[in-house]
Amino acid sequence: MTTAANSLSWELRPPMENGDFDVEAARRDFPILQQQVYGHPLVYLDNAATSQKPRAVIDAISRYYESGNANIHRGVHFLSEHATEEHEAARRTVQAFLNAADKREIIFVRSATEAINLVAQSYGRKHVGAGDEVLITAMEHHSNIVPWQILCEEKDATLRVLPINERGELRLEELPKLLTPKTKLVAVTHVSNALGSINPIRKIVEMAHSLNIPVLVDGAQAVPHLKVDVQQLDVDFYVFSGHKVYGPTGIGVLYGKRALLEAMPPYQGGGDMIRSVTFEKTIYNDLPYKFEAGTPNIGGAIGLGVAIDYVTRLGIDNVAAHEHELLVYGTEALTAIPGIRLIGTAADKAAVISFVMEGIHPHDIGTILDREGIAIRTGHHCAQPVMQCFGVPATARASFALYNTRQEIDVLVKGIQKVKEIFA
């Protein structure tokens, strides 16, 4: 699969109307963007790794620790009541953001990775047995591969992989063959971190559900960039990380359909997840607390709530339109440079441009761009099987967020010219 597929930029959806979105105003909300790196204005294009934080999020976290800090769900005092209220308000914010039917379906975890491990260890260990199968895809992040490998190894089950084509799209025509009575779960990413491909989740869910197979969707790369409605998608589990959607690190979300979560055994034991404990018997707490053992990341949840409010205020559709315009502009600009090959040219793509340059290793590209103040990711992006599919050890990846501009893409292009000069 080494077809040079550089010529697909015009197959991308054309730029959409993006209303009144004012990128310069948005940039002013992010203090970190105002700095210089090696004497150049910072051009931060590593948003698929983590996004920067708006002032509102930074302030909310500071405010919580300055004047609101207390443990939740147990104190009778003023601060504890207030912290509990803020923590639960953040849960309702996430519920509305995903359009979940019930706030009890929103479990706070540490990250998307932890959410997947929770489902693998709780739902998976209960429902996957010897000879069964778990189906993932060839474009998964390691976080949506390894937890299933661990489960399959323990249960003597088999991990199956839905392949991708040379553009980095799922080969859906292979899906019916891979969905069998042995398949106990499908785990698929909504948006590929390494390729940018947006997957047709609704269609996959319909096909899986026709055989009563539940579907977990890794939304880590999706929620910052497109409107997600878990009821419309009809997904059984949906996970994401706060830090990729302008929130803090250390907080993530597991959405699960209530009936499934109710029937699942706890993932971790401890405080908060119990109703009563004796040495003879422990009665578990109700949802969502059953899956939230121990003192949670209260400040993180509050910060995430504020981050989601921030994105919602700008309008996720406006953000998506702005980023898509950057994708179209960036794709055209990069494909115009001789010697560049794009990795991932799906027709439906989020704002991620992965590329390789003839005769120049991505790591060298990254170092040279860094000295121009440009932050990109180079490497395998925790998706080594994807790299193997395309026959490259690594790629350079520019990934965009709501605060990126066309001018920054121009700086990137100039930086790439410099790479070529050095390696000329």
């Binding site: 790591h363 000295r371 395998h380």
Partner: protein, 148 residues
């Protein structure tokens, strides 16, 4: 830009494009694999070792310009040397790329072009991967070497 030119010296770029001793060594009696998970660099070092001396050394694999040039120039530098001399050279080389160079700068010979690496701490692993792998091959270790 000057830091970058220090790092990507012409000699380094030239070796990365046309690496020397870049082949399998049929006569090899020692070999080791080295892997840098950060950037996916992956090299195999082949050694023909006789009476504690490196009669011949070659390498194969893929990696960034720094790791490839380092492997190429290393093979040139250690050929004909004893195990102890090679280990001593690595010690000097490592001090150089980590910015702690002491003693006679001429002792490194051509390898001195890697001095610029010290300004790029994340690239130290790239520059030293081949050397770590060589040390493993000299010691006859079978497991793949990782820079992590």
């Amino acid at each position: 830009m000057s830091d970058l030119r220090e790092l990507y010296q012409d000699v380094i770029l030239e070796h990365s494009k046309a690496p020397r001793n870049f082949r399998e060594l049929p006569a090899a009696n020692h070999k080791a694999e080295g892997y840098n998970p950060l950037c996916g660099d992956h090299f195999t070092i082949y050694l023909d070792l006789e009476d504690g001396s490196i009669r011949d050394v070659t390498f194969q694999g893929a990696g960034c310009a720094i790791s490839k040039a380092s492997a190429s120039m290393m093979t040139q530098s250690v050929k004909g040397k004893s195990k102890e001399e090679a280990a001593k050279l690595f010690e000097r080389f490592h001090s150089l790329v980590t910015g702690h160079a002491e003693g006679d700068p001429d002792a490194l010979g051509k390898l001195a072009v890697f001095a610029g690496v010290s300004e790029f701490p994340v690239r130290v692993k790239c520059a030293s991967l081949a050397w770590h792998t060589l040390m493993a091959a000299l010691e006859g270790k079978q497991d793949a070497v990782s820079t992590e």
